[in-house]
Symmetry: C2
Subunit: 332 residues, 2 copies
DNA sequence: CTGAAAGCGCTTACAG
DNA sequence: CTGAAAGCGCTTACAG
């Protein structure tokens, strides 16, 4: 390559990374040779010698969830300008798998690690703390963050949902979620349930309508099945919080099949503000968190952080949440 | 590291890659040192020296689509045993972005490249053909594959959908999709439309009910808007094919809001067999392609292919498709 | 503005 | 069964 351009290997490297440093005439010679040969420099070699891989590791529970996919898209956007690339792994909600994937990621020497936060195996936490790169936990606010955290409180989501239903005067209030199963658990969903139950308890309301059913992750189908199970058990239930819009939509569809009118017979609210919730009839009342923005902010923070050589103190950022009132909860 | 274990660097490398080759006592010494130090070998260095990165590149239009996410999950599963890792990039349906991402991927020296097929920029195709690693195009069957292809014919999807509606005796038949817009186009969706129109033409039916509306990618909302536009233009339309279940579901929801009964007033069918289509009322008739299996098969083929040192001839595999009859098309 | 030397952390290919 | 040497393809840090 450098032979064809009649310059040293170093000059090629410079033209490709910082063209300003090179005389226009030599630059053009190099660029022509690059084009003629279809030369694509080997980043593996570059990474090794510069000690910078340009990788940002991202660990998600699954790709099959529009909100987590939105996080990835937001991150990519923010990272693009600084020419970092995402190295994506997913755990299928299994903490043993998280630990395994973490090792794979670490072996690639990412310059930062982003992962969905709050719950990790002991050994995974240890590896994360030992890693000498920035770690940011997202999509929750851990009580003891490993380092940085950008997210929202799932516990508060649960409390907010319960409060909303209580404020509207409902008394027989329930919820549907997956039941935690050892290593394979939706910990963030479970946090929402915990908050929901707590708010009910503080209001001295029964938590008998809170149903954990089936296994994570939740889905439309899961929501339908859980809704039916709950209504059969407690026919007089007035309002239900589903741990995700996915199960909430499933519940609305099941209600239609059971000839229950939403919201006249039963009110339903969800979490996550998925697109489908806006389109169904009645449109779904939900709690919104901007996952795309969450990814963007995380990416921006990382770009800044990696550009400076200072090691900033651990930071925690709450991106907040808001209720989106639509038509699936009765206005009474 | 090797100092702490009292052995050479080579012995550490052997213990980690092929433990059988090492005496149990030395092996244990090494393993203990590895655990004590939390040593994670640097794959960047390993890749450079062994000339094997262990990366398989995967280029998708978007992660925000359950079927493409399923492809990624299937691939990961098949690749896990052989210890390959996916390097994922996505294009947002933009061919200029595909070319840019391809360069990024190539610089990481993947051992194979998987991408959604059939349409690429000239320069991207050239890079792919010059790459001396296996290339497999998925999710379509290109007329001129770059090398391997595993997928189905989107054109046939369109023809099959039209045939199905024609066979049921509908005469005023329409379709909804996004309109192609230069570099940002859903080429596979457009192929389905082309097949659909062709089948209509062969049956000497009007294609006036075929509507291209808005930009890719389609969504629930897109389907709702396109459905309304089509019905307002052609109030006597009897049956509609939506280029994706996402838009089909949006159409069903919009029909409910317009007080049109599905399927009594208008029949609707989709493509992709997304989970939501099974849950809505009426359940959506659709055309099913097993994207998870598509990913699995691609991964298995790659594992075999990379294990042998022969260079097999280019292969094309049609995974087929099937109609899933549910309740959104009138039985007449 | 350009280049020669050294080295990043592993694995390959020997040698013993 | 274990190790010393060479080298993978770049970039860093000089030197001129």
């Amino acid at each position: 390559m450098s032979r064809l351009a009649g310059v040293s290997r170093m000059t090629v490297s410079r033209v490709l990374s910082d063209p300003e440093l090179v005389l226009p005439t030599t630059r053009d010679k190099v660029l022509k040779a690059v084009a003629d040969l279809g030369y694509v420099p080997d980043k593996t070699a570059g990474s090794l010698s510069s000690r910078r891989t340009g990788f940002i590791a991202l660990m998600l529970p699954t790709l099959t969830n529009a909100n987590f996919a939105a996080v990835a898209h937001g991150l990519t956007e923010a990272l693009r300008e600084a020419n970092y690339h995402l190295l994506i792994a997913y755990t299928d909600y299994d903490m043993a798998e998280e630990e395994r994937q973490l090792l794979n990621l670490l072996a690639r020497r990412p310059e930062a690690i982003v992962l969905t936060g709050a719950m990790h195996r002991r050994n995974a936490s240890r590896m994360l703390m030992a890693a000498d790169v920035p770690v940011v936990e997202i999509a929750d606010l851990p009580s003891q963050p490993i380092e940085h955290a950008i997210g929202f409180s799932n516990y508060q989501v649960g409390r907010t949902a319960a409060r909303y239903l209580l404020d509207r005067g409902f008394t027989r209030i329930g919820a549907i979620a997956a039941s935690p199963e050892g290593e394979v658990t939706d910990h963030r969903g479970e946090e929402r349930m915990r908050g929901f139950e707590e708010e009910l308890r503080l209001a001295r309301r029964s938590t008998d309508g809170v149903l954990r059913h089936g296994t994570a992750p939740v889905s439309f189908h899961h929501g339908a099945a859980a809704f039916r199970a709950l209504v059969e058990r407690q026919p007089d239930i007035e309002a239900i919080f589903a741990v995700s819009d996915l199960s909430a939509v499933g519940a609305v569809m099941e209600a239609q099949r059971m000839n229950l009118r939403i919201p006249d017979d039963i009110s339903i609210m969800g979490f996550g503000d998925f697109e489908i919730g806006r389109e169904i009839n009645p449109a779904l009342t939900t709690i919104h968190v901007d996952f795309h923005a969450l990814g963007l902010r995380t990416g921006k923070m990382l770009v800044d952080l990696l550009a400076s050589d200072a090691t900033p103190a651990p930071s925690t950022l709450d991106v907040g949440l808001r209720i989106v009132e639509r038509a699936s909860v009765k206005d009474r």
